[in-house]
Amino acid sequence: VSEDRERERRYRRLLKWYPAEFRRENGEELVAVLMEFEGAGQRQPSMDLIKSGLWLRLRPRVPRTVVPAVRAAVVLMYAGALISALGFIATVPSLRYFADTNHLSLLGHRQSLPITIVAGLLLGLILTGAWMWMARAVGEGRRGARVLATVLVAPATLHLFGLKGLIAVVFAMVTWLIGLSAVWLLWRPASRAFFDRDVAALAPRPSEASRESN
Protein backbone atom coordinates (compact mmCIF):
# COMPACT_ATOMS: atom_id res chain seq x y z
CA VAL A 1 0.00 0.00 0.00
CA SER A 2 2.81 2.40 0.83
CA GLU A 3 4.37 1.45 -2.52
CA ASP A 4 1.15 2.42 -4.22
CA ARG A 5 1.21 5.72 -2.42
CA GLU A 6 4.77 6.33 -3.57
CA ARG A 7 3.80 5.58 -7.18
CA GLU A 8 0.83 7.85 -6.97
CA ARG A 9 3.06 10.63 -5.66
CA ARG A 10 5.34 10.11 -8.65
CA TYR A 11 2.44 10.49 -11.07
CA ARG A 12 1.14 13.55 -9.27
CA ARG A 13 4.56 15.16 -9.54
CA LEU A 14 4.58 14.44 -13.27
CA LEU A 15 1.15 16.01 -13.67
CA LYS A 16 2.74 19.35 -12.76
CA TRP A 17 3.87 19.46 -16.41
CA TYR A 18 0.21 19.86 -17.38
CA PRO A 19 -1.62 23.18 -17.47
CA ALA A 20 -3.45 23.90 -14.20
CA GLU A 21 -6.76 24.04 -16.03
CA PHE A 22 -6.27 20.52 -17.37
CA ARG A 23 -5.26 19.23 -13.92
CA ARG A 24 -8.40 20.68 -12.38
CA GLU A 25 -10.61 19.16 -15.04
CA ASN A 26 -8.90 15.79 -15.65
CA GLY A 27 -6.21 15.36 -12.98
CA GLU A 28 -7.97 12.92 -10.63
CA GLU A 29 -9.30 10.92 -13.54
CA LEU A 30 -5.86 10.64 -15.13
CA VAL A 31 -4.29 9.58 -11.81
CA ALA A 32 -6.96 6.88 -11.55
CA VAL A 33 -6.11 5.59 -15.04
CA LEU A 34 -2.37 5.65 -14.26
CA MET A 35 -2.99 3.63 -11.11
CA GLU A 36 -5.04 1.16 -13.14
CA PHE A 37 -2.01 0.75 -15.37
CA GLU A 38 0.09 0.16 -12.26
CA GLY A 39 -2.41 -2.44 -11.10
CA ALA A 40 -1.93 -4.25 -14.41
CA GLY A 41 1.85 -4.09 -13.93
CA GLN A 42 2.38 -1.54 -16.72
CA ARG A 43 4.25 1.46 -15.42
CA GLN A 44 3.70 4.51 -17.61
CA PRO A 45 6.90 6.24 -18.72
CA SER A 46 7.53 9.75 -17.40
CA MET A 47 8.32 10.99 -20.89
CA ASP A 48 4.80 10.30 -22.13
CA LEU A 49 3.30 12.50 -19.42
CA ILE A 50 5.94 15.22 -19.76
CA LYS A 51 5.52 15.38 -23.53
CA SER A 52 1.74 15.44 -23.33
CA GLY A 53 1.76 18.06 -20.59
CA LEU A 54 4.13 20.34 -22.48
CA TRP A 55 2.14 19.89 -25.66
CA LEU A 56 -1.08 20.89 -23.90
CA ARG A 57 0.68 23.98 -22.57
CA LEU A 58 2.26 25.04 -25.86
CA ARG A 59 -0.02 23.77 -28.62
CA PRO A 60 -1.66 26.29 -30.89
CA ARG A 61 -5.22 26.91 -29.82
CA VAL A 62 -7.72 28.67 -32.02
CA PRO A 63 -10.94 28.98 -30.01
CA ARG A 64 -14.03 28.24 -32.03
CA THR A 65 -16.18 30.58 -29.98
CA VAL A 66 -14.49 33.80 -31.08
CA VAL A 67 -15.51 35.94 -34.05
CA PRO A 68 -13.92 35.09 -37.45
CA ALA A 69 -11.71 38.20 -37.54
CA VAL A 70 -10.14 37.34 -34.17
CA ARG A 71 -9.75 33.70 -35.22
CA ALA A 72 -7.90 34.83 -38.33
CA ALA A 73 -5.68 37.08 -36.20
CA VAL A 74 -4.89 34.16 -33.87
CA VAL A 75 -3.94 31.96 -36.84
CA LEU A 76 -1.74 34.74 -38.25
CA MET A 77 -0.01 35.14 -34.91
CA TYR A 78 0.77 31.43 -34.77
CA ALA A 79 2.19 31.79 -38.28
CA GLY A 80 4.33 34.63 -36.90
CA ALA A 81 5.51 32.32 -34.11
CA LEU A 82 6.43 29.69 -36.67
CA ILE A 83 8.43 32.16 -38.74
CA SER A 84 10.23 33.49 -35.65
CA ALA A 85 11.04 29.92 -34.66
CA LEU A 86 12.44 29.32 -38.15
CA GLY A 87 14.51 32.49 -37.77
CA PHE A 88 15.84 31.09 -34.52
CA ILE A 89 16.71 27.79 -36.17
CA ALA A 90 18.39 29.65 -39.06
CA THR A 91 20.73 31.33 -36.56
CA VAL A 92 22.00 28.00 -35.25
CA PRO A 93 24.29 27.23 -38.27
CA SER A 94 26.08 30.55 -37.82
CA LEU A 95 26.66 29.56 -34.20
CA ARG A 96 28.15 26.26 -35.35
CA TYR A 97 30.26 28.06 -37.95
CA PHE A 98 31.59 30.32 -35.26
CA ALA A 99 32.35 27.35 -33.01
CA ASP A 100 34.22 25.60 -35.85
CA THR A 101 36.32 28.58 -36.88
CA ASN A 102 37.05 29.36 -33.25
CA HIS A 103 38.21 25.81 -32.78
CA LEU A 104 40.72 26.28 -35.62
CA SER A 105 42.30 29.27 -33.93
CA LEU A 106 43.10 27.37 -30.77
CA LEU A 107 46.63 28.72 -30.71
CA GLY A 108 45.51 32.26 -30.99
CA HIS A 109 43.31 33.93 -28.45
CA ARG A 110 39.72 32.86 -28.40
CA GLN A 111 37.18 35.27 -29.68
CA SER A 112 34.11 35.83 -27.60
CA LEU A 113 30.80 34.94 -29.19
CA PRO A 114 29.76 37.76 -31.54
CA ILE A 115 27.01 39.85 -30.04
CA THR A 116 24.99 39.62 -33.26
CA ILE A 117 24.69 35.85 -32.95
CA VAL A 118 23.73 36.00 -29.28
CA ALA A 119 21.23 38.76 -29.96
CA GLY A 120 19.80 36.86 -32.94
CA LEU A 121 19.28 33.72 -30.87
CA LEU A 122 17.76 35.55 -27.94
CA LEU A 123 15.53 37.66 -30.13
CA GLY A 124 14.31 34.57 -32.01
CA LEU A 125 13.37 32.87 -28.75
CA ILE A 126 11.71 35.93 -27.27
CA LEU A 127 9.77 36.70 -30.45
CA THR A 128 8.54 33.11 -30.77
CA GLY A 129 7.36 33.19 -27.17
CA ALA A 130 5.77 36.61 -27.58
CA TRP A 131 3.85 35.58 -30.72
CA MET A 132 2.58 32.43 -29.02
CA TRP A 133 1.55 34.27 -25.89
CA MET A 134 -0.24 36.96 -27.90
CA ALA A 135 -2.02 34.39 -30.06
CA ARG A 136 -3.37 32.59 -27.03
CA ALA A 137 -4.19 35.71 -25.02
CA VAL A 138 -5.96 37.37 -27.95
CA GLY A 139 -8.04 34.23 -28.45
CA GLU A 140 -9.02 34.45 -24.79
CA GLY A 141 -10.17 38.01 -25.38
CA ARG A 142 -7.46 39.73 -23.33
CA ARG A 143 -7.33 43.38 -24.21
CA GLY A 144 -3.76 43.76 -22.95
CA ALA A 145 -2.58 41.35 -25.63
CA ARG A 146 -4.28 43.38 -28.34
CA VAL A 147 -2.66 46.56 -27.03
CA LEU A 148 0.76 44.88 -26.89
CA ALA A 149 0.41 43.59 -30.44
CA THR A 150 -0.51 47.07 -31.63
CA VAL A 151 2.36 48.74 -29.80
CA LEU A 152 4.87 46.21 -31.19
CA VAL A 153 4.09 47.27 -34.75
CA ALA A 154 6.12 50.44 -34.14
CA PRO A 155 9.52 48.82 -33.40
CA ALA A 156 8.83 46.23 -36.11
CA THR A 157 8.34 49.05 -38.61
CA LEU A 158 11.50 50.87 -37.49
CA HIS A 159 13.39 47.58 -37.73
CA LEU A 160 12.57 47.40 -41.46
CA PHE A 161 14.67 50.48 -42.21
CA GLY A 162 17.87 49.22 -40.68
CA LEU A 163 18.09 45.95 -42.60
CA LYS A 164 20.75 44.81 -45.04
CA GLY A 165 20.63 41.80 -47.32
CA LEU A 166 17.74 40.44 -49.35
CA ILE A 167 16.93 37.48 -47.09
CA ALA A 168 16.82 39.59 -43.97
CA VAL A 169 14.56 42.14 -45.68
CA VAL A 170 12.14 39.55 -47.07
CA PHE A 171 12.06 37.76 -43.72
CA ALA A 172 11.34 40.96 -41.81
CA MET A 173 8.78 42.16 -44.38
CA VAL A 174 6.79 38.93 -44.16
CA THR A 175 6.81 39.04 -40.36
CA TRP A 176 5.84 42.69 -40.40
CA LEU A 177 2.96 42.10 -42.82
CA ILE A 178 1.68 39.23 -40.68
CA GLY A 179 1.78 41.40 -37.58
CA LEU A 180 0.15 44.33 -39.31
CA SER A 181 -2.66 42.17 -40.74
CA ALA A 182 -3.28 40.58 -37.34
CA VAL A 183 -3.48 43.98 -35.65
CA TRP A 184 -5.76 45.30 -38.39
CA LEU A 185 -8.07 42.31 -37.86
CA LEU A 186 -8.07 42.87 -34.10
CA TRP A 187 -9.42 46.39 -34.51
CA ARG A 188 -12.21 45.50 -36.94
CA PRO A 189 -15.66 46.42 -35.59
CA ALA A 190 -16.58 42.76 -34.97
CA SER A 191 -13.35 42.18 -33.04
CA ARG A 192 -13.87 45.32 -30.99
CA ALA A 193 -17.27 44.04 -29.94
CA PHE A 194 -15.64 40.75 -28.95
CA PHE A 195 -13.01 42.43 -26.77
CA ASP A 196 -15.47 44.87 -25.23
CA ARG A 197 -17.86 42.12 -24.31
CA ASP A 198 -15.17 39.98 -22.78
CA VAL A 199 -14.60 42.14 -19.72
CA ALA A 200 -18.04 41.11 -18.53
CA ALA A 201 -17.44 37.52 -19.61
CA LEU A 202 -14.63 36.69 -17.20
CA ALA A 203 -17.23 34.64 -15.36
CA PRO A 204 -17.69 31.14 -16.88
CA ARG A 205 -19.21 31.30 -20.31
CA PRO A 206 -22.74 29.92 -20.70
CA SER A 207 -21.55 27.13 -23.03
CA GLU A 208 -19.13 25.87 -20.38
CA ALA A 209 -21.66 26.19 -17.61
CA SER A 210 -24.13 24.06 -19.53
CA ARG A 211 -21.47 21.44 -20.23
CA GLU A 212 -20.73 21.22 -16.50
CA SER A 213 -24.36 20.64 -15.63
CA ASN A 214 -24.79 17.81 -18.14
Binding site: E28, L30, A32, V33, I50, S52, L56, R64
Partner: protein, 106 residues
Protein backbone atom coordinates in the same frame (compact mmCIF):
# COMPACT_ATOMS: atom_id res chain seq x y z
CA UNK B 1 -7.85 11.03 -39.28
CA UNK B 2 -4.95 9.60 -37.29
CA UNK B 3 -5.04 5.93 -36.47
CA UNK B 4 -5.11 6.51 -32.70
CA UNK B 5 -8.09 8.84 -33.10
CA UNK B 6 -9.87 6.31 -35.30
CA UNK B 7 -9.27 3.57 -32.74
CA UNK B 8 -10.47 5.68 -29.81
CA UNK B 9 -13.68 6.59 -31.61
CA UNK B 10 -14.15 2.94 -32.58
CA UNK B 11 -13.73 1.89 -28.94
CA UNK B 12 -16.60 4.23 -28.05
CA UNK B 13 -18.81 3.20 -30.99
CA UNK B 14 -20.95 0.67 -29.12
CA UNK B 15 -21.21 2.36 -25.76
CA UNK B 16 -19.44 4.54 -23.24
CA UNK B 17 -16.09 3.64 -21.71
CA UNK B 18 -13.69 5.18 -19.23
CA UNK B 19 -10.04 5.99 -19.94
CA UNK B 20 -8.47 2.67 -19.05
CA UNK B 21 -11.34 0.81 -20.72
CA UNK B 22 -10.61 2.65 -23.97
CA UNK B 23 -6.94 1.69 -23.77
CA UNK B 24 -7.59 -2.02 -23.23
CA UNK B 25 -10.31 -2.03 -25.89
CA UNK B 26 -8.09 -0.34 -28.48
CA UNK B 27 -5.39 -2.90 -27.73
CA UNK B 28 -7.89 -5.70 -28.25
CA UNK B 29 -9.40 -4.29 -31.46
CA UNK B 30 -5.95 -3.84 -32.98
CA UNK B 31 -4.78 -7.29 -31.99
CA UNK B 32 -2.29 -5.84 -29.53
CA UNK B 33 -0.65 -3.59 -32.11
CA UNK B 34 -1.87 -0.22 -30.84
CA UNK B 35 -0.97 0.39 -27.21
CA UNK B 36 -2.05 3.86 -26.16
CA UNK B 37 -0.22 5.51 -23.34
CA UNK B 38 -2.15 7.42 -20.70
CA UNK B 39 -0.73 10.83 -21.62
CA UNK B 40 -1.37 10.31 -25.32
CA UNK B 41 -4.92 9.15 -24.66
CA UNK B 42 -5.79 12.19 -22.57
CA UNK B 43 -4.31 14.60 -25.10
CA UNK B 44 -6.52 12.95 -27.71
CA UNK B 45 -9.60 12.93 -25.47
CA UNK B 46 -9.09 16.63 -24.74
CA UNK B 47 -8.96 17.40 -28.46
CA UNK B 48 -11.94 15.17 -29.31
CA UNK B 49 -14.00 16.84 -26.59
CA UNK B 50 -13.00 20.24 -27.92
CA UNK B 51 -14.10 19.18 -31.41
CA UNK B 52 -17.34 17.86 -29.89
CA UNK B 53 -16.82 14.39 -31.33
CA UNK B 54 -17.09 12.85 -27.85
CA UNK B 55 -18.63 13.94 -24.57
CA UNK B 56 -18.75 12.89 -20.94
CA UNK B 57 -21.43 10.27 -20.39
CA UNK B 58 -21.23 9.87 -16.61
CA UNK B 59 -18.88 9.74 -13.66
CA UNK B 60 -18.41 7.04 -11.09
CA UNK B 61 -16.22 6.62 -8.05
CA UNK B 62 -14.60 3.18 -7.92
CA UNK B 63 -12.36 2.36 -4.94
CA UNK B 64 -12.23 6.04 -4.09
CA UNK B 65 -11.04 6.98 -7.57
CA UNK B 66 -12.81 9.03 -10.20
CA UNK B 67 -13.88 7.30 -13.38
CA UNK B 68 -15.25 9.37 -16.20
CA UNK B 69 -17.06 7.59 -19.00
CA UNK B 70 -17.02 9.01 -22.50
CA UNK B 71 -19.39 8.45 -25.40
CA UNK B 72 -19.60 9.50 -29.03
CA UNK B 73 -21.66 12.54 -29.93
CA UNK B 74 -23.88 12.35 -33.03
CA UNK B 75 -21.24 14.24 -35.01
CA UNK B 76 -18.59 11.85 -33.65
CA UNK B 77 -20.58 8.87 -34.94
CA UNK B 78 -20.94 10.56 -38.29
CA UNK B 79 -17.23 11.29 -38.58
CA UNK B 80 -16.26 7.76 -37.59
CA UNK B 81 -18.78 6.32 -40.07
CA UNK B 82 -17.45 8.49 -42.89
CA UNK B 83 -13.85 7.59 -42.09
CA UNK B 84 -14.63 3.86 -41.85
CA UNK B 85 -16.42 3.96 -45.22
CA UNK B 86 -13.49 5.75 -46.79
CA UNK B 87 -10.98 3.23 -45.44
CA UNK B 88 -13.21 0.36 -46.53
CA UNK B 89 -13.48 1.57 -50.11
CA UNK B 90 -9.72 2.13 -50.32
CA UNK B 91 -9.04 -1.30 -48.86
CA UNK B 92 -11.48 -2.90 -51.30
CA UNK B 93 -9.72 -1.35 -54.29
CA UNK B 94 -6.32 -2.40 -52.99
CA UNK B 95 -7.39 -6.00 -52.44
CA UNK B 96 -9.11 -6.21 -55.82
CA UNK B 97 -6.06 -4.93 -57.68
CA UNK B 98 -3.79 -7.31 -55.85
CA UNK B 99 -6.08 -10.18 -56.87
CA UNK B 100 -5.89 -9.13 -60.54
CA UNK B 101 -2.14 -8.89 -60.25
CA UNK B 102 -1.99 -12.59 -59.50
CA UNK B 103 -3.04 -12.79 -55.90
CA UNK B 104 0.33 -14.06 -54.78
CA UNK B 105 0.42 -11.42 -52.05
CA UNK B 106 -2.80 -12.83 -50.61
Amino acid sequence: MQEATFMILTALANGSQHGYGIITDVQEISGGRVRLRAGTLYTALDRLRGDELIEVDREEVVDGRLRRYYRLTPSGSKRLGAEATRLQSHAAVALQRLKFAGGSAL
